[in-house]
Each structure stands twice: as C-alpha cells, then as structure tokens.
C-alpha cells in the first residue's frame, strides 16, 4: 500500500478539491499488441495524462514478442492513441508521455528478456524517479499467467521486500473456467504476489456504475423499504449484446455465455442488487456484504428446467446478413458452446426468500443493453380493475447499466377522459444525456485505482470462488446431460426454452 502521511500539512479534510495523485510509478504491460491494449488501455493512459491525472514520471514499459525498439513502440502507441483516445491529441503532452515509453522484447519464458525488464525498471527508477513502484498488467491469456508470474518472481520483480516501493499485478477476467481452475490460477498469482496486491479487473463493472447502484439504494429513503420479498415479485438481470463472437472464437469456444458473463458480471450485479447496506465504503465491508449474498444463493432443484441455453443462427439482423455461430471462423460445426444462457436463482435469506432472480446473457440479441429490473408484486386492486388485465401490469424499477445509464420507474396512471382505465407509464432518469461524453472511461478509473492502490470495487478471490460455486453445478449438469443449445434467430431475445423457463413460473421476460 502507498505510504499515507496523515500529518500532511496541505491536506485538509474539508478541502475536497485535492484529489489524490498516485506516487511516481511505472506500469509494465504484457500483451501490448492485443485488442484490449490497443483500443482501451493505451488510449486510457494517454487520456489520463491529458486530464493531468497520471502520477509524476509515469512510465510505460511494453513487453512483447515484436522486435521493436523504444521508438517503434512509441509509434505504435501513438497510432493507437490517435485512433482511440477520447481527448484531443496534444503534441507537447505526447512528447512528455512518450519520454516514459520503453519496450522490452522477448517471449514470456525468456530469462534474458526479464533481465532486460529488470534493467529497464532500474533505469526508470534512476532516471525518472519511479522509486521502485511497479505495476504489472497481464493483458494475456490465463494460460500464460503461470510462466509470467514465475519469471517475475525468479527475477525479483514481483516482490518489494527489501527494496523501495510497491509491486502490484492486474489480471483480467476470466478468472478460471470453473472453481478448480480458479483456485489453481489464484494459487499461481498469489504464490508470487500478496493477496492485497492482486487487482482483478472487471471492466464492465466500472466504479461509477457500482457507486450509482449503491447510491440509488442507500442514499435514498424511498426505495429501500420496498426492496424485499414483501413487495418484490422477482428480479431480472440482463446483459445482451447485439454483436456475435467476432474474432474471439479461440477464446469463446468451450467457454460460452454463462462462464463469460454470468459468472462474473451478472453475479456481481446480483450481489449489488441484493446485498445489505455496508457500514462503510471500504473494500473489506463491501466484500463482506457481497459474499453474504453469494453464500445465500440457492440453486433450483431441477437445473435443467430452470436454465436455458441457445446458439444464434444465421439470418438477417436489423437489415444486415449475419453469420450463425457455427459459421463463425474457427468454430467447430459440432460446438456445444452456448451463446445465450439464462438461469433462475434464489437467495435464501429473510429479505429475499421466495423471490426468484432470473439471469440471462447472450450475443446477437435484439440490442445492446445491460440492466437490472426489479419487478414488484401486483397491487391488490379493486378500484381500478382493468377488463383487459394485460393493460396494466406490475410496477418496476429498472436500473440501466449501459448504454445510457439511468433509472426507469414504471407505474400505472389513469388514462385521461376514461372512467377508470389504467395504463402503465414510465418515468425516466438518465445520468445526463451527454454525460457519458465527458465522464471518464471505465478503464481510466481502473488504471488510476490500481496506481493509487485502491481496491474496493475489485472482486477478491473469495468472491470469484463463490461465483463459481453457483455456476459450476449448472455447467456440470449441462455437460453431463449433453445439453445442446437451442437455436435462436439473430436479433431475437433468445431461444424459446428461455421463455418456457419464465412461463413455468407464470412470468415473462421484459423486453429491454
């Protein structure tokens, strides 16, 4: 952890303009030529510089197989910034940023390369004053974690014992593909880095989003009293993408929507929706409350009836011809990997007993949307009984995560002029229409938090394990029974079996 001096004469708790700046530091990026680095990470770092938020002397070391020198690496970084940064290009700023760029070429198992990396970091400490503060960002396939972590340890790079500064490691999801592999992966990383130096990044869950959910629930008086089994009928959590798997076949085949999205994002959203109010905003308190919810999750007895899998077919989606999953490049014709998954969970505690949580995630669905819909019970109404029952339904609070983050409240209102006709109307709040334009990209915030050493919203290993414990029984059931995903048309909202899952409980999926 960074050294905080509580007796800093310039820090006044009332002076809230003074945000914290990370200590001088360098970041070593493994996987610089990957899509993520190119489209998100490198531009985010430049945007941080442009906003004056990067630590002093910030240096970026690329590590990769390309035979680049520093100048060629800088050229590559510049291109990625020009294409993807959201702040305008500023030559003077670029020159300052570029002066901290280094490239170390080598394979992940090449001892000589790690020697050169160590020398480079020492050189940065001396010439730029990065003071031994180094973060390692592993934007690489999990199978390479083992060798990279081991080599970092072998070359005394992972451990700050006996030397100045801190060492941190950043890993991206997936954190394993089941409980066992998650444990192995964790053992590899935590053998080398202390647990509190490991930052697991889930970029779909930017800090802003999580804080918005918590603020809605706990900074208001009018929602929380209704937030339990007495008033809530059920909860639907949806993450839909309108795109296919694209060029991710190598990663996606054998993983599928449930492991890719439900295990991490949707279960995290479930935890934030269902958890009790933490006494403080610290990592420890938040994790404890989330863990309590995840531990209270119970699975349906009939795993088959209460889950549904799908694969998108070829067809016309929104006016364009798209490939089916089996026609995607590098996907075997007999692949059983699902591109859509839905399942039903319950939370067995006093607040939520008897309230089903329906989770669904898929690709090539109707539109891109991530949302949490809390659907309330029907009001016991005699006064405004509608002859056509479908006309007015259940109240709902919908928390939209993306795009256009906001909250929609759905309630009944009288139709003007009629006797006592009721229609559902919606009241909509957006976090500002153009808000996202100037709000920081999730990655900027994440990188800054890593450099500052602020972990609160990163899941820790126990949460990862708890999530696998929820998903693994489903995955085992699907594998054991050789469940073949049902076909669904691109641009639809998933296979019919998913609708049957809801129909079995007398409910329907919302149209997001």
């Amino acid at each position: 952890m960074p050294h905080h001096n509580t007796s800093n004469p310039l820090r006044d708790p009332r002076d809230r303009r003074l945000t914290r700046v990370a200590a001088p530091s360098s970041l070593v990026l493994f996987g610089v030529t990957g899509d993520l680095a190119k489209k998100k990470l490198l531009p985010a770092m430049y945007d941080l510089a442009n906003r004056g938020l990067l630590p002093p002397s910030f240096s970026l070391v690329g590590f990769g197989r390309r035979e680049w020198d520093d100048a060629q690496f800088a050229e590559y970084v510049k291109e990625s910034i020009a294409d993807n940064a959201r702040t305008p290009f500023n030559e003077a700023m670029w020159e300052q940023f570029a002066s901290g760029l280094r490239f170390v070429h080598g394979n992940f198992d090449d001892d000589a390369a790690y020697e050169r990396l160590a020398e480079t970091l020492t050189e940065l400490d001396e010439s730029r004053g990065t003071r031994g503060n180094h973060a390692f960002y592993l934007s690489i396939p999990p199978k390479a974690f083992d060798v990279v972590c081991q080599k970092l340890a072998d070359h005394d790079l992972a451990d700050s014992n006996g030397s100045e500064g801190w060492r941190r490691v950043v890993i991206e999801k997936p954190f394993g593909h089941d409980l066992e592999s998650a444990r192995e992966l964790n053992a590899i990383v935590e053998r080398v880095f202390p647990a509190d130096s490991v930052f697991r990044i889930d970029h779909y869950l930017g800090k802003e989003t999580v804080q918005n959910i918590l603020a809605l629930r706990f900074a208001n008086q009018m929602f929380e009293p209704l937030w339990d089994a007495r008033y809530v009928d059920h909860v639907q959590i949806t993450m839909a993408e309108d795109i296919g798997i694209g060029s991710r076949a190598g990663y996606y085949d054998g993983v599928g929507a449930a492991r890719d999205v439900i295990q991490n994002h949707l279960l995290q959203l479930l935890a934030f929706t269902a958890m009790e109010e933490p006494p403080a905003f610290s990592a420890h308190h938040l994790r404890r409350e989330k863990a309590k919810v995840l531990e209270s999750v119970i699975l349906p007895e009939d795993l088959g009836a209460y889950s549904a899998l799908g694969q998108y077919t070829a067809g016309l989606q929104g006016g364009a011809e798209v490939k089916g999953f089996h026609q995607e490049q590098d996907i075997p014709a007999d692949s059983r990997t699902e591109t859509y998954a839905a399942l039903r969970l319950e939370i067995n505690n006093r607040r939520w007993s008897g309230v089903p949580f329906y989770l669904r995630a898929g690709k090539r669905l109707g539109r891109r949307v991530t949302e949490i819909a809390v659907v309330f019970k029907k009001s016991p109404n005699l006064l405004f009984r509608s002859p056509d029952k479908d006309d007015f339904g259940q109240n709902a609070i919908v928390i939209r995560i993306q795009p256009d983050e906001g909250v929609t409240i759905r309630f009944g209102s009288k139709v003007p002029g009629t006797q006592s006709e009721i229609r559902d109307v919606t009241m909509d709040f957006g976090y500002g229409h153009a808000f996202t334009e100037s709000s920081p990209e999730a990655y900027e915030r994440l990188i800054l938090d890593v450099l500052l050493g602020e972990p609160p919203l990163f899941p820790d290993h126990s949460e990862v394990e708890l999530s696998w414990k929820i998903l693994d029984p489903f995955e085992d059931y699907w594998a054991e029974h050789h469940i073949r995903p049902d076909a669904y048309a691109p641009g639809s909202w998933g296979p019919e079996t998913a609708d049957q899952l809801m129909a079995r409980d007398g409910r329907v999926w919302r149209r997001p």
Partner: protein, 319 residues
C-alpha cells in the same frame, strides 16, 4: 434550435419553453441545477460556451442575463437555445435594457427550475458584495472571477471583505492542479518543515496571491511573491526546506517539472485548464468551500501575510 423573442416578459418566455417542449419533444429531464450567468453586453458568448461544456457533466438550465445600458427605455429581449445549440442544457439569454439592466430575483424567478440549486456566476465584473445582490442572495453558490475583473486585486480584496459561505472565485479553481501536486509531495515526504514559500507568476494575478497565502498559512511560514508582466499565470512555486528547495515549475502550458532534493527531476502532465474545465469543477460541489473561505478571509489579512500580500499587489517584490 434558436428562438428569438423581442420586447417580451419572463412569463411569455416560460410559456414558449413549454410549448417548444410539447411541439418538439425537447428533453429537459434530469436537470440538476439552474446556472445564472450575469454578464455584460458583448461579453456573454464565451461564458455561454463554457456553461454548455460544463452542462455535459452537470445537466442544467442556463439563464444568461446580459446587462445593456440602464439609460435606454426599459425592455426585455430574449433568445432561447435548445437541443443541439445548447449542449446538454437549455439556454435562456435575457437582454435587459433600462431598469431591467439590473438582474433581480423578480425578473428570473419564473424561469428557475423548481427545487434545484441555483448557482450564480459573474464571468467578469461583479457587484460590490455578490452575496448581498438580488440574485446572489437566492444562490447556493456564487462564482466570481477576480482575474477577469477590471481591477483583479481590488476585486480580490473586495471578496476578502465581503465573503459569505458559498462564495468561490475562479482564480482559486485555476490553481487546483498545482495544489494537488504540491499536496502529493507531502504525502511522500511527510510533514517536513518549510521555511518559506516563493510563488512566481504573472503580475496582477489573484491566483498567485491565493496560492502563496494558502501555502504559507497551511505550512506556517512566510510567503514571498515574484511577479512579472511577461510571465503567464502561475509559473513556479518553491518551498524552501532545510534539505533544499522543492520546486514545481511549469514553463509551458502542458508539462511541469518537480524538483526535490536528492531526487531525479519528475515530469508531471499538468495541462493548463481552460475556463470550461474550471467551471465544471466549480459545479461539482454545491456546499461552501470552507478552505477557500479561510484563505480569502482569515489568512489573507493575517498579520504574518498582510505585508507580503500588499507588496505583491503593489507589484513590488517583497523581502
């Protein structure tokens, strides 16, 4: 969309806004505050641009009062900007002539958003006591800009004497990134005693004075100001310690250099922040900035600093 209205009243304007919303479905949901800009004739456009920019972070209704000659016949003209011409906000520009050259609560009250905080901003000159003016009294925050007033130092002294909780000055906002970096230095080195602070910058810059006063007051030492006409804005801050000087210097507009005893020089990305960014920062919090309050009231007139401040304002180097 831009709508011109001549010789009108605010209730007619309100009706027009209402009908525009009905006809065109211009969305005005989720407004978080009303920003009232009090401008002089011929000086409003830059302020509106900054407000439009800030509205992307803080969706708001912007009311701009442009004061024309008080000697003309009393008349109110208006221009409404909505949709693409108004950022994420809706802008109502009121041109007041004659008696309406003076902005008052009664003039604008029909246009204020219900139940939302009011922020008043004087982009150039401001009344003798912003907190006592008609608009200032109903505003939760009052933003002045002493650096762009006709006489910056006189304005700063005026603010010092008339301070009310909720006041803030953009000269203070402009030094936030400097203050952040200097505070970060002490996060690393701890409470090292500082003998003297030396602040260098432009002549007639209230930011230079506020910076010196804040530092000297917080560090319990003396302040010295070196000001020159050719320097732009803030230029250099030096903290003299027993081990040597700690110096933060921004020679250009983008990159600053931090020099510390026994350390390699550190480059810091610290771009000059324009009016847009400063206003957005100002709107981020609507409760009083107590630290600014302390600096502008107690610290600026404290016995230890009074002389140095006066000398700086006279344009001389203090000793």
């Amino acid at each position: 969309m831009i709508v011109q209205m001549e010789n009108t009243t605010t209730s007619t304007i309100e009706k027009k806004l209402h009908s525009l919303r009905d006809e065109n479905g211009v969305v005005t949901l989720g407004r978080v505050l009303t920003l009232v800009i009090l401008a002089r004739a011929g000086h409003s456009e830059m302020a509106i641009e900054a407000a439009n920019f800030a509205s992307h972070e803080h969706p708001c209704r912007i009311i701009v009062h442009v004061a024309h000659s008080a000697n003309e016949a009393t008349r109110l003209d208006a221009q409404l900007r909505m949709g693409g011409d108004a950022g994420a906000s809706e802008v109502i520009i009121l041109h007041g002539y004659g008696e309406l050259a003076e902005p008052t609560e009664t003039l604008i009250s029909a246009l204020l958003l219900p139940d939302a905080p009011i922020v008043a901003w004087w982009p150039h000159d401001f009344p003798d006591s912003p907190g006592d003016s008609s608009i200032g009294k109903i505003a939760h925050r009052r933003i002045t800009d002493s650096a762009r007033a006709d006489d910056p130092f006189k304005s700063l002294q005026q603010l010092s004497q008339q301070y009310r909780p909720g006041d803030t000055d953009l000269a203070w906002t402009r030094i936030t990134s400097w203050r952040i970096q200097l505070a970060a230095v002490f996060d690393q080195i701890g409470a090292v005693p500082v003998r003297e602070v030396i602040v260098e910058g432009a002549e007639r810059s209230p930011s230079v004075v506020l910076m010196g006063v804040w530092l000297a007051n917080a560090l319990g030492c003396e302040a010295k100001f070196i000001t020159q006409t050719e320097r732009p804005g803030m230029d250099r801050v030096t903290l003299v310690t027993d081990d040597g000087p700690i110096e933060l210097h921004r020679p250009g507009n983008t990159v600053a250099v931090l020099k510390q005893p026994g350390q390699p020089d550190q480059q810091i990305a610290m771009p000059v922040r324009d009016l847009n960014v400063c206003l957005a920062e100002e709107l981020r919090r609507l409760d009083p900035d107590e630290v600014y309050g302390d600096v502008i009231t107690k610290a600026m007139v404290s016995a230890e600093l009074e002389e140095a401040v006066e000398d700086a304002m006279d344009g001389e180097e203090s000793q």
